[in-house]
Amino acid sequence: MLRLEAVEAGYGSSRVLCGVDLAIGPGEIITLLGRNGMGKTTTVRTILGLVRARAGCIRFRGRDVTGAPPHRIARLGIGLVPEGRRIFPNLTVLEQLIAVARPPREGRGWTVSRVLELFPALAERRHQRGRTLSGGEQQMLAIARALVLNPVLLILDEATEGLAPLVRREIWRALAALRREGLAMLLIDKHLERLLELADRHYVIEKGRIVWSGTGAAFRAEPGLRARYLGV
């Protein structure tokens, strides 16, 4: 469904991605693991066209989207939960959802009222502006906002970062529910054990290259991996 082939990208004169290969099938959940600054966020931004791919090719749902503008790529079916949440401070909860909602491709999709059922805490705050929300509420809103796009692929970049354990559990609960709906996901997170439970396959990125990929079982079977690439 999504395939990156030898993708290179960077900022200014610095090259951050040096040939990333990665693939996600329909309904599949994969993770992108790696230490700080290895290029995880840059990979995500390149997929969405926010950073230009200097070489290589990105295909999504059968189309070549390399170099396409971000809104086109998003409309093809990618819901982004960006690093740092990026909530619109001056829009109310309801407005942020209405602004980006798109009709489902087929059957029962995500509507504004359905995402508010998924996150009851948000429903209570529906008329509050983004900047008045707590970190956890902002994170739920960022996920809800990506869901009302009715994507076929959800990308979460550090969705549990800086959250209290209780709120974190709420987020993992929601992701497990989305998994049962068959939504494909690309997850980036620091909580390895949770990722190993939830995901089908894993990619390890180091200095802009994929250095390992495989299933959760394969990951657990190679004890050297964690120390070498993740520093845990």
Binding site: L48, L50, P69, P70, H71, A74, R75, G79, L80, P82, R86, F88, P89, N90, L91, E95, Q96, I98, A99, V100, R102, R145, A146, L149
Partner: protein
């Protein structure tokens, strides 16, 4: 002071205020959201006046001509956005100022070619000619119509930005254009629409001015300076701020011109008071701006607060 004169000056002040608001709304949105300084915004004002006058001379129907002029100016706005502004959103303000100053020269020359160097006149429609009694004093209908049309445009704009999906995109784009694009909104198109809308509002103000004074080349540049004062006072990017700032500047300017000579005449000779009063009146709004900036550097009603 004579109450009927005070009422008249208040209405005059409101009328200047709503015209400034129509100009300021577009300028402040483009400046606040795209971070783009458009010196040629006054050219849209001039175009609105010329196009309305031209269409009225041709069709003799005022409102359809006005509507036509707004649409045509909006299209010119779209063209300017596509060909000039869009290339300069990320550029330094100096380049934007230089490019849009070039546009002023271009539009002034274009108008000279099309309509000649002489001022032309835009007759208000017959149903707006004459006077209306307000609290016993006669007042020109056209000025009342201008105030009402300006306030209605303000309401419409408030609804558009506060209540519609386009308005949500505009506000979200002002906060974080990258994220709204990554969520599937074509923010380039939204920016172009805002630019065109601003051009149409400026054209409406120009047509209003054209019914009061001669339509001439350079009319946009004079009022543009006042418009910048308005958006600085109101808070850059804020439409509500533009409304408050515009009414404030309109009233202060009008009261100043009408009242200062009389006030000064109490303490000095009439001829001296008239000259000094006129000079001080034209400084009044800059004084107002200085006071506002000293107390609230971000303006009265900043967009992000």
């Amino acid at each position: 002071m004579d109450p009927s004169l005070l009422l008249e000056q208040t209405l005059n002040g409101l009328q200047l205020g709503v015209m400034l608001f129509l100009l300021a709304a577009g300028l402040t949105l483009v400046f606040g959201i795209m971070d783009f300084i458009n010196l040629a915004h006054g050219s849209f004002y001039m175009l609105g006046a010329y196009l309305t006058a031209w269409l009225v001379g041709w069709s003799e129907a005022f409102l359809p001509s006005l509507a036509g002029a707004l649409v045509l100016t909006a299209l010119v706005g779209l063209l300017v956005e596509r060909l000039v502004a869009r290339r300069l959103y990320a550029a330094d303000h100096l380049y934007q100022v230089l490019a849009t100053f070039g546009l002023i020269l271009f539009f002034n020359e274009l108008i000279r070619l099309l309509f000649g160097p002489q001022p032309i006149f835009l007759e208000p429609p017959a149903w707006l000619a004459g006077q209306l009694e307000i609290a016993g004093a006669p007042y020109p209908r056209i000025r009342i119509a201008i105030v009402l049309a300006g306030l209605m445009s303000g309401l419409l704009l408030w609804w558009l930005i506060g209540r519609t999906r386009l308005g949500m995109w505009i506000r979200a784009g002002a906060d974080d254009r990258e994220t709204i694009a990554a969520l599937g909104v074509d923010i380039g198109l939204v920016f172009a629409l805002v630019f065109a809308l601003g051009a149409a509002l400026a054209a409406l103000a120009g047509a209003m001015a054209g019914t009061l004074v001669a339509v001439r080349i350079g009319m946009g540049e004079e009022i543009l300076i006042l418009t910048f004062v308005v958006i600085v006072i109101g808070g850059i990017g804020s439409v509500r701020g533009a409304l408050v700032g515009a009414l404030l500047v309109g009233l202060v300017d009008t009261y100043g011109r009408a009242l200062l000579p009389d006030v000064l005449a109490l303490v000095m000779e009439r001829s001296v008071a008239d000259a000094a009063g006129a000079a001080m009146a034209s400084m009044a709004i800059y004084l107002l701006m200085a006071v506002v900036l000293a107390l609230r550097p971000q303006g009265l009603l900043p967009a992000r607060g």
